[in-house]
Symmetry: C2
DNA sequence: TTCGCTTTTTGACTTTTATCAAAGAGCCTG
DNA sequence: CAGGCTCTTTGATAAAAGTCAAAAAGCGAA
């Protein structure tokens, strides 16, 4: 979905605002396996995924990769430590499919919120949703077994298994690839 | 710290706004082990902890208690699913020490944000901070060992060990009480 | 279709953590 | 300070998950 369409579903946008948005939104098409942001880099843009899939991950000192989460179409994504605090990113953002993004700069984003308080509502709404998801994630990691977490994911986002390799899913679940493979074979 | 003092440290408050706040803020003193919110209940107040410590936890079907997190003085706390979405809470909020709280109702909170856009800044700031903490928590649970998580907690919040029983800390770390005890004895 | 590469599975073994049970320590109260 | 709590530790054992290595399966390109 195009970002303007998405915004219109959540907010009543005047023709002027739409025009203003069109001026500041940059649209781009990225190939599969393209690294958008890597640790140490600054990221001053907020992206909206029109189509595609982005993996957010980091590497431990020993070189092991861990998937923090997947971002799919119709969602916003950015290197949040960097976008919000101006710090360098600690994570990678990498496409796992051909991906179409729309993005706006940090400055334009701030301006937009200032000029049109309407956007603040959506901003807060999105943060609430992100926090809800994070809380569920924490409790899942804290007290569910690997098998339970696997089954939740299968329930809530079955399509992810068609789109992402099991190695990436395993690290997202916080388990090794072999363990995930064994969980799957036990059914 | 009193909530007004806290707010003044973050925002320039006019005398009128302070007066307005004083009208809507309710201050209360709770004993140790008081349950503020329990699962199924609605919570329409936002609390600020002036003094004390609150544990947020839930119970699995099997009856096992898991600590989602601890909330300490100079922080806001509420049953977020309930305060934000109007759903019944899924968690307990329970004091682990004598606790002094200031709180405002959901309606007053909304009014305040609407009337004084200044507060929206703090609102967003607090949410950013919460999200930062949650992200760190997720990555810790995902790829650190129990020992590493224990050591991080010891680094970042050493005082918690003086204030909270090891059983609660163990469940916060996502491990059994016995495992925590063994980690501690190995040093 | 075949070669080469990546992903997934399987097996053997080790490490980590949970569980159950009981002992020990600490602490409040009468 | 004695008795009865709760909290913490310790021990033995079981379950869960990790690691390493190799085989199997899948897939894309020549």
């Amino acid at each position: 979905m195009h970002i303007i369409t998405f915004l219109q579903q959540h907010l009543p946008l005047s023709a002027e605002v739409v025009e203003e948005l069109q001026k500041i939104i940059v649209r781009e098409h990225l190939p599969k396996n393209h690294v958008l942001v890597r640790p140490g880099q600054h990221c001053r843009r907020l992206f909206f995924i029109e189509e595609g899939l982005i993996r957010e991950h980091y590497q431990s000192l020993s070189g092991k990769e861990t998937t923090y989460r997947f971002h799919t179409e119709d969602n916003f994504v950015t290197a949040d430590e960097s976008f919000i605090d101006g710090q360098p990113s600690q994570y990678y953002l990498e496409t796992l499919e051909e991906t179409t993004l729309c993005s706006i700069s940090h400055e334009d984003f701030e301006q937009l919120l200032k000029r049109h308080p309407l956007f603040e509502q959506l901003h807060v709404l999105v943060m609430h949703q992100v926090m809800r998801e994070m809380k569920e994630r924490i409790t899942a990691l804290q007290f569910q077994t690997a098998t339970e977490r696997y089954e939740s994911l299968l329930q809530n986002q079955p399509s992810i298994f068609q789109r992402v390799s099991l190695g990436h899913i395993a690290s997202y679940l916080g388990i090794s690839q072999e363990t995930l493979s064994r969980i799957r074979s036990k059914k």
